[in-house]
């Protein structure tokens, strides 16, 4: 009844508006934090983001509240919301939980994969390799997150995926902060080839081991850069 275009209109209706505003804002910030669009310690203002997005402060507030509760942001003593700065102990904790949960998701994904999954993962891996070759850090981080997330999604455990995403959310800015290590990027890509190979064979145990190796390979570099970023976090100019 709704579609008055009826007869000669095969095209599907436009999505109009999928989610609530706060959900859209949350998802955008989520992706931005994982992709390293924000630096540790960077201040995020509710009203500023609201005017920038052309909406009221209300939905922005709820999105930021959620991110704060999840540990991605923190409330500074001057009543400002800022991207959380991880201590080494924090990072170790995140890494340990990541090893556990992503390992579990990988083991399950290896056993549950379908033909469609295989083509999806291949595509994501191709994107990742392409981004790595281009040297574009932002593209690489986004592609890396998409590659991993698509693997874990194969396990078809949405809660597990959500908890893993939360860990990426917390660690994302710290990962981005130690970006310029080009050698790390090469080593990481070798890990990703191993991950893809294990996924193609469907060996859950091997896939789990490959994922854990990827985490363990990247961790020392990130960890080493942490206190540096902590001490001189606010020295440079605020933002663009």
């Amino acid at each position: 009844m709704q579609n008055s275009l009826a007869a000669g209109e095969p095209a599907q209706m436009s999505p109009l508006q999928r989610d609530s505003l706060q959900q859209q804002i949350y998802e955008r910030l989520h992706a931005g934090l994982i992709a390293g669009a924000f630096r540790p310690g960077e201040v995020i203002s509710t009203r500023g983001l609201a005017t920038q997005l052309g909406v009221s402060a209300m939905p922005v507030r709820e999105a930021l509240t959620r991110l704060t509760a999840e540990g991605a942001l923190e409330l500074t003593p001057s009543r400002n919301l800022a991207v959380r700065i991880l201590s080494r102990a924090d990072f170790d904790e995140v890494t340990a939980i990541r090893t556990e949960l992503e390992g579990m998701a990988a083991a399950r994904a290896g056993a549950a994969r379908t033909a469609t999954d295989v083509t999806t993962i291949r595509a994501r891996h191709a994107d990742l390799a392409d981004a790595a070759e281009s040297g574009d850090i932002d593209r690489y981080l986004s592609a890396n997150a998409a590659f991993h997330a698509s693997i874990y999604a194969v396990a078809r455990w949405p809660l597990l995926l959500s908890m893993i995403q939360r860990l990426w959310l917390i660690a994302g800015p710290a990962i981005r902060a130690c970006l310029p290590d080009q050698t790390h990027l090469g080593r990481s890509m070798a890990c990703h080839d191993t991950i893809l190979a294990a996924f193609l064979t469907g060996d859950g145990a091997a896939l789990r081991a490959a994922i854990i190796a990827d985490i363990a390979t990247a961790a020392p570099d990130i960890r080493a850069s942490l206190t540096i970023g902590t001490t001189r976090s606010n020295d440079d100019e605020i933002q663009s």
Copy 2:
């Protein structure tokens, strides 16, 4: 300047107001969900809760938004917020992740415990045994949650503890819904004695095994009661 009582008043000032309203509301709902104060499918109204708590709808909304994002509540097609009803697949996922994360926390807690921790855990276990003997289900569930949480807190990994709490939040109402099984309560208490013993010896591996056994012991009963609660969830009267 604020305290005009000044001189002869050694007593510390009252805490006045610790957190924001939304945080207090969130914590109260959190505890209530874990302790089984809400039944699966039960509708929770923002304005209703607000008037009941004597506050505006705003902080209640943010608390409920957080709980919805965490998977404890869900938005029904009639635009109502209700306590999430777990499918068996959902419950299996929660149980699997619980096994992993609570096992990890237990292993770490066994190694990191201090003398203070021992006395705390003993006290919590005594509370739990007392509640079990009294037969008060509500007291038992609260004491059970406090017992487990205090063990995991010994690991000193706040993020891990927070993620475990989220799992309890989701599973809480389902656990409460299959309450009247008195035999289950006895079996569970046996598990708790084993847990306490393992904690006292400081054997992380044994503590981990005891925790996992506790989860595995309770899971079948809860799982079996799930679809029942799902099908006839709204048959009885709405609420008190």
